[in-house]
């Protein structure tokens, strides 16, 4: 598979190392930092249509999204999250799961090269007017107990890469920006990258990166979320 080349319209964070640190890389090597990766037309129009035909049927069985450790009421009260979701477990969706997982696997090989072994039940997420998902990582980088020991068992699947696919176009809603921290930006001025996605576009990022969906002002935002897992960070 040939990866799509970056262009100025997309939002790749593309830091060329101007001062190559000693011992890291030779000066003739150009590295592009990729704290996240955007893929335009991740889903072709045909597949997008099939996927949305499927997800539209789920609108009568949407539930409120919660946050680990919190009920959806607590999440809403604490201004953490207010969104409607559906976990897709239908057999008929398996072919799309496989299609998406294969694509991500290819991209991962080229960009992040992380050990991935599985993905979790995908989530269809709908944000209506006023709804949002405040800043959060999808998974931890390190988790300590009170003794200062990493307390997630080695054999547990860690969320390593998150994928968000836009199922409708950013022109269909105002607000609802996808924002993700820029790890080397000055937090006092430009801490985040704001990304508005055309339908079919996807963003792939390490699960420990903070991101949010800002409140919807008008319209409705629909996306499909996957978490790819593997052994703990090495």
């Amino acid at each position: 598979m040939i990866l799509k080349k970056r262009n100025s319209k997309t939002f790749y964070t593309d830091y060329e190392i101007k001062n190559i640190p000693d011992g890291i890389a030779s000066s003739d090597r150009v590295l592009r930092y990729a704290p996240y990766y955007i893929i335009e037309d991740f889903l072709t129009d045909d597949i997008l249509k099939e996927v949305t035909n499927f997800t539209e049927k789920k609108h009568n069985s949407l539930i409120k999204g919660s946050v680990i450790g919190y009920s959806h009421q607590e999440a809403e009260q604490n201004n953490l999250r207010d969104s409607s979701i559906h976990f897709i477990e239908d057999d008929e969706f398996e072919k799309y799961n496989n299609y998406i997982a294969n694509k991500v696997s290819e991209i991962n090989k080229n960009i992040f090269n992380l050990d991935l072994s599985c993905f979790m039940t995908p989530q269809y997420a709908v944000y209506d007017r006023g709804q949002h998902f405040n800043w959060h990582p999808d998974g931890p980088f390190g988790v300590l107990d009170r003794r200062g020991l990493n307390c997630i068992p080695d054999d547990l699947a860690w969320r390593k890469l998150s994928l968000s696919i836009a199922l409708n176009d950013e022109s269909e809603y105002t607000g609802g920006d996808f924002q993700i921290v820029d790890p080397s930006a000055n937090p006092s001025c430009a801490i985040v990258n704001t990304i508005r996605m055309a339908k079919g576009t996807a963003i792939l990022f390490p699960a420990f990166s903070a991101h949010r969906v800002s409140p919807i002002i008008d319209g409705i935002r629909k996306s499909l979320i996957y978490w790819f897992c593997g052994p703990r960070w090495k």
Partner: protein, 225 residues
């Protein structure tokens, strides 16, 4: 260790519970208190202060860092470094060994990352008014010409050699939660070590009095996986 400001201590996302018993916190960094004794710190300062006047100004290399530094090589044959000056200080070896061992022990307990090497120890001097702007020490993902032979920085460590000797000069990090409110600002105590993954955004605020001295270690290994 004085944590001056810890924003959003009640941020339920940052400090969310992974278990219901309220004992688990999600933090990317780790502080080793009293990693070195006051005597050891005094001995290190005595050894290294001799070279203070040789330290070079980082401003000539980039506009992000505003401090002076030297590389301290206590192991290998003298080798040129692309930036700055390397001083060979063999007497520093025992202290270097202690610091490295403590960092590797914590890595094993906390992250267990693949680490198989390190970059030459760097000695940093922040005089009044000097600082280091927001930066990361290394990247997470690399696109294009990255090959497996590249050494990746996996853990950064900063050893505090002074504390009462200066004001300002706090160590600040942006954590993986609400970036506009959740960051920590730490005034490390002498002899302590802060360990953190190099992709964490951090800075040193301007020193307003005295001189801040630190040692910086970068532990390297295979690329993130």
């Amino acid at each position: 260790m004085e944590v001056i400001q810890k924003y959003d201590l009640n941020d339920p996302v940052l400090f969310r519970n992974y278990q219901k018993n309220n004992t688990v916190i999600d933090v990317p960094y780790y502080i080793i208190e009293n990693a070195l004794t006051d005597t050891q710190i005094e001995e290190i300062l005595a050894l290294l202060s001799v070279y203070d006047s040789d330290a070079i100004d980082s401003e000539q290399f980039n506009n992000n860092e505003h401090l002076k530094w030297l590389y301290i090589n206590c192991r290998d044959e003298e080798k040129p470094s692309p930036y700055g000056i390397t001083k060979r200080v063999l007497e520093f070896r025992p202290y270097d060994d202690v610091i490295i061992q403590k960092c590797l022990d914590i890595n094993k307990r906390v992250w267990n990352l693949d680490i198989n090497g390190m970059i030459t120890t760097k000695y940093l001097i922040y005089e009044k008014g000097r600082y280091s702007d927001w930066h990361t020490d290394g990247s997470f993902g690399v696109q294009s010409e990255a090959d497996s032979s590249i050494v990746w920085r996996k853990l950064s460590a900063t050893v505090a050699l002074t504390d009462d000797e200066y004001d300002g000069g706090e160590f600040e990090m942006v954590l993986s939660s609400n970036p506009s409110t959740s960051y920590v600002k730490i005034k490390p105590s002498k002899g302590s070590i802060i360990l953190f993954p190099p992709f964490i955004n951090h800075r040193i605020s301007p020193v307003t009095r005295g001189i801040k001295k630190t040692l910086v270690y970068w532990f390297c290994g295979s690329r993130w996986r």
